[in-house]
């Protein structure tokens, strides 16, 4: 689940990547949003980025040949399931990089691959629950290998324009039910929601429900303090925070080295997440990392400064 920031729609970047990645790898998608016509959003889904190593930049239906390995998902798929092949180097590549300026090719967006649901006018969540159940029933979890996986993307689930948005317990019931269904299927669901529109207590309930919990935050332009604290501040559009990582079949918590990442748009095309790097501290000034003051400029000296 992704907690949105009302100041900037960075959750849409994550949503687009999630949706494109699934479609490009033959994972059908169920997409629900508060828009009257959710299908319109599909036109903004990015296409896989061309590999840096590719010698020719021909963009044809076989462009997937240049995709780089990002994940080891390939070992879960039979060779015949992959509808693209990175014959270069004999590797099958799983795409994790997308070009936001290049829309996803239309053949990926067919009705067979993408089912869209508008949740704006639904008086309750029964219809969405039924659609989700029908969708997930196509990807039951068996003991054998995974032959096909599905993805569910629900955007701005508790948005105020949705008729059910004041039915807090019903929304919780839906999430609980969806979680159960997803757990017993070969599918993953991504839900984004605006936490500021929920009461604090319910917001906590939602957070506990999530297997993996992320939040995105906008950062202001021209923040002098931040620009002095962080390297590459001018390229950042926001922060991504990892609050919780799924612990399925284990009781051991996942402790990450870093839980906050900067969100950058490289050349305005590529979504890049990076660990934060602090700007170098001027050692002679005696300030520590804990301070938020200027690192390089002169600062007023207090009575106890040496």
């Amino acid at each position: 689940m992704v907690m949105e920031d009302a100041e900037a729609p960075h959750h849409m970047l994550l949503l687009r990547n999630f949706m494109s990645q699934g479609l490009v790898h033959n994972q059908p998608l169920l997409y629900a949003s508060p828009a009257i016509d959710p299908r319109g959003f599909l036109g903004t889904l990015p296409s896989p980025a061309a590999s840096k190593d590719e010698k020719s930049h021909k963009h044809d239906p076989d462009q997937e040949k240049g995709l780089r390995i990002a994940w080891q998902y390939k070992k879960y798929f039979g060779e015949s399931q992959l509808n693209f092949d990175g014959q270069r180097d004999g590797k099958h590549e799983y795409s994790n990089e997308f070009d936001l300026r290049k829309p996803l090719e239309r053949h990926f967006l067919s009705a067979q691959r993408v089912d869209c649901v508008s949740i704006q006018d639904s008086p309750n969540l029964s219809a969405l629950q039924d659609r989700s159940a029908t969708f997930l029933s196509q990807y039951p979890r068996n003991d054998g290998s995974i032959s096909c996986a599905g993805r569910i993307a629900i955007q701005s689930f508790s948005a105020p324009q949705c008729a059910y948005s004041n039915m807090e317990w019903d929304m919780l019931s839906f999430i609980r039910s969806l979680k159960s269904m997803v757990r017993s299927s070969n599918a993953v669901a991504l839900i984004t929601f605006p936490p500021s529109l929920l009461s604090p207590s319910f917001c906590k309930r939602w957070q506990h429900m999530a297997d993996t919990l992320l939040s995105v935050k906008a950062i202001p332009d021209e923040d002098k303090e931040l620009s002095q604290l962080l390297t590459g501040y001018q390229d950042m559009v926001g922060f991504l925070n990892v609050h919780k990582v799924a612990r399925i079949n284990t009781q051991v918590p996942v402790i990450l080295d870093a839980t906050t990442f900067s969100i950058k748009l490289q050349k305005r095309r590529f979504l890049v997440l990076e660990c934060l790097n602090q700007a170098p501290v001027d050692g002679s000034s005696g300030t520590s990392y804990g301070t938020s003051g200027s690192c390089s400029g002169s600062s007023k000296t207090g009575n106890l400064d040496f």
């Binding site: 019931s173 009461s199 309930r205 919780k244 612990r247 079949n249 284990t250 009781q251 918590p253």
Partner: protein
């Protein structure tokens, strides 16, 4: 396995003495955790102890949170085979993942699901052989999801807990329940949480450290054991506080600063 390291939690719960009679007999244990620090490992630990081969305990697990396969895999790594225990009628698993009480306006009381659940627990206990019926541990994971199943009727959940409490007096059952403290502390009236804390004989809180998460210390536990019985026959409240690190096969508990 580092026998000593898990003793701080066992000590706090009175489980470091003998397993028979089960030290938690007739007692209610409330476990509270937060988003940052899960307390489910305490449930797993108590379940494992209750299913010790040296005892005749029976455990009834009411699962609102995870399917059986999750607990099976977790407990296997802790050295306890839930499938075998289930086959031997020492472990009863009630899958409540899809339980959803119907809304009130359908003319069916939301209580019906929870009443049926209580009935099922009661029938399971009375069907046990005499000696086992004296050592039953009922474990609930978790209460906040029971509220969701009851469409937000916290009163019905509390009623259910009160009914289960009668089992602790009638059958000497132990009742262990997990809940999420931060849900209620951010609410206007944290009545539900306070009621559970009042009911509990042992209150266990899992919290993050003030310094945040770390790979060698996952959090801190505070255990309030009300009326703990000591060998001399006296009883008094005991508070224990220590740090913990959760591993696949054990939970390491240690006092702050003592972990090398």
């Amino acid at each position: 396995m580092n026998q000593r390291s898990s003793n701080l939690l066992d000590e706090a719960l009175g489980l470091d003495q003998s397993i028979e009679p089960w030290p938690l007999r007739g007692r209610i244990v409330a476990i509270e955790d937060q988003v940052e620090t899960s307390g489910s490992f305490v449930l797993h630990h108590i379940l494992k102890r209750s299913l010790s081969p040296n005892s005749s305990n029976v455990s009834i697990f009411i699962a609102f949170s995870q399917p059986f396969s999750h607990y099976d895999r977790v407990l296997r790594k802790l050295g306890c085979n839930l499938v075998t225990q289930r086959d031997n009628n020492r472990f009863f698993f009630f899958d409540m993942l899809m339980l959803q009480c119907p809304g009130g306006d359908e003319g069916i009381s939301p209580e019906c699901g929870l009443i049926a659940l209580y009935g099922k627990i009661y029938k399971t206990i009375v069907a046990l052989p005499e000696v086992s019926s004296k050592n039953v541990t009922i474990i609930i994971d978790d209460l906040s999801l029971m509220e969701v199943a009851a469409n937000g009727s916290s009163d019905y959940v509390l009623d259910f807990m009160h009914y289960c409490r009668t089992l602790t007096t009638e059958f000497d059952c132990s009742l262990i329940a997990l809940n999420h403290e931060d849900i209620y502390s951010s609410a206007d009236r944290p009545t539900f949480l306070l009621q559970m804390e009042y009911l509990a004989d042992i209150l266990i809180k899992a919290e993050p450290l003030a310094t945040g998460l770390a790979s060698d210390v996952h959090g801190q536990l505070t255990v309030l054991n009300k009326g703990m019985n000591y060998r001399q026959g006296s009883s008094r409240n005991k508070i224990s506080n220590f740090h913990f690190k959760v591993k696949e096969n054990v939970v390491e508990c240690f006092y702050p600063g003592s972990q090398g």
